[in-house]
Symmetry: C2
Subunit: 320 residues, 2 copies
Amino acid sequence: MTRRFDGAASAGRPVRVGLDVGGSKTEALALDAEGRVVARHRCGSVRGPAGVVETVRDAVAVLCGPSSALRAESVGIGIPGQVEAPSGRVRHAVNLELRDLDLGRILEQELGAPVTIENDVKVAAVGACRLRGRAAESLAYLNLGTGVAAGVVVDGVLQRGVGGVAGEIGHLSVDPRGAACPCGQRGCIETVAGGGAVARRWGGIGDLPVLEMFDAADRGDERALRLRGELAGGVAAAVRLLVLTLDVPAVLLGGGLANLGDRLRAVVVDELRGAAEASDFLGSLRVDERLEMLPPGSGAPALGAAHVGAEVGTVRTAPV
Amino acid sequence: MTRRFDGAASAGRPVRVGLDVGGSKTEALALDAEGRVVARHRCGSVRGPAGVVETVRDAVAVLCGPSSALRAESVGIGIPGQVEAPSGRVRHAVNLELRDLDLGRILEQELGAPVTIENDVKVAAVGACRLRGRAAESLAYLNLGTGVAAGVVVDGVLQRGVGGVAGEIGHLSVDPRGAACPCGQRGCIETVAGGGAVARRWGGIGDLPVLEMFDAADRGDERALRLRGELAGGVAAAVRLLVLTLDVPAVLLGGGLANLGDRLRAVVVDELRGAAEASDFLGSLRVDERLEMLPPGSGAPALGAAHVGAEVGTVRTAPV
């Protein structure tokens, strides 16, 4: 009963498709051979194993279906969860209700094209590199969403590490007396800089508790000022950590909290400058000047997913 | 009046020379085309600009002088200080009494061979890779000397970063209420895990204050037990930081404190296991199993320096 759709076999101009499959919505785009975006599509995500497969299949069909002038040469997908490379097995994608699914293999059969799955923060880092127009570049992308994690690109190469764990800096402790983290540690960066933890601590009733907290801090609310200061301190710690460990020339802030834009940037820069004033060593590194905001709605994850998918597709089909 | 020695022009079998120029002694070795060590030399280091140049020139002359059957094709040098790449300018090499010296250029003129200078911890990381017999490998080398710093190799490539600062994790704070660090921050990893800081805090009178402190801890001395625990905590924090940021399969401990061998390893492993028991997330990463000790006297820095020198030499002389 499964509708099958063979994106690769259909006629048309070859494109590299990228998808950012989030917990509530999915962004898809198609790149031509020169890396230009030639088609975009946005839809809701359906959760659960069958739902995620359907979401991807339908989005690819919109871009590269029989009535389209495009043909999917490769498909890259960013997923909020742990991804086993190169198999594309997905684990603990809680927001998509996927516990453990051989998603890469299933989607390759569905789509008839090479499929590469990667963690969403990691593909966003690749997309951020491409958006800046310098592919062979080094940068760190710091995602401030419900949780905190980073994606690192060195000389144009995404850093995965031996088990795909590279960039999980949200669970590094920076305060032994800090708040208990659901991960079992204390004082993790995520306990002060993760949107989920901040929302729990602030206890707002609206949809945007972090925005509420920033507004209250602007009005002089003491508890909000303290929480905002701790958030800025946590983000600054993460930025310093990425600079001292990898000496990346740029750290881009993205994710839901980055929608605060300059309001977030200002408090983090203040924190970085304060630390630099107290330390000649930090001052010499000019950490604050490396901080950049990824513009909201940049489409970096889907763009990065398309590039990650294309790279692996190339490797797989390269002559030996 | 300067003795000149042209190592490259002399007859003989081509070798890649590597030197580890430390504050008190210098280790030198020569590698043949297959990467085998064919000669070694050890001597005292002379400090200051003229002294360091003399030390390197004399060590290379012993290995590749007119009476030798070897000819220096490239020279790589590890230096305890900041090194500007690719010029080889050295700054803040305090232990060698070099404030700011164009050492690479001076030595190329002296030696008549391509010279590459790199930070000593970074070349040690490259050497550690080679010693394990897997060149195209990822690992972190954590140097516990007077200070704390790391060298990271990813897929066989040494990570320098944009300004050569990559790996300076000793100055990441893991405790906002921790001890003041000479760098101007509080609670830096180096304040609890650096040999210099531990020696100051323990206040021993002998040459080996950290060893004294470990002995006292074994006898049950409470202050020593606390300092040893804090040292183990700082090293464990550095190891976790390298694993969560880069997901390296191995973290090798080296430097003066690593001469404590299993006595150091045991307390760090205890600390890592304790943290892993409290956190399923950390437990799943098996951080303790990634910890290894670099054997004392391994010669990793000189070996790594020879390889770093050879790589850059190859690039410089490669046909375009």
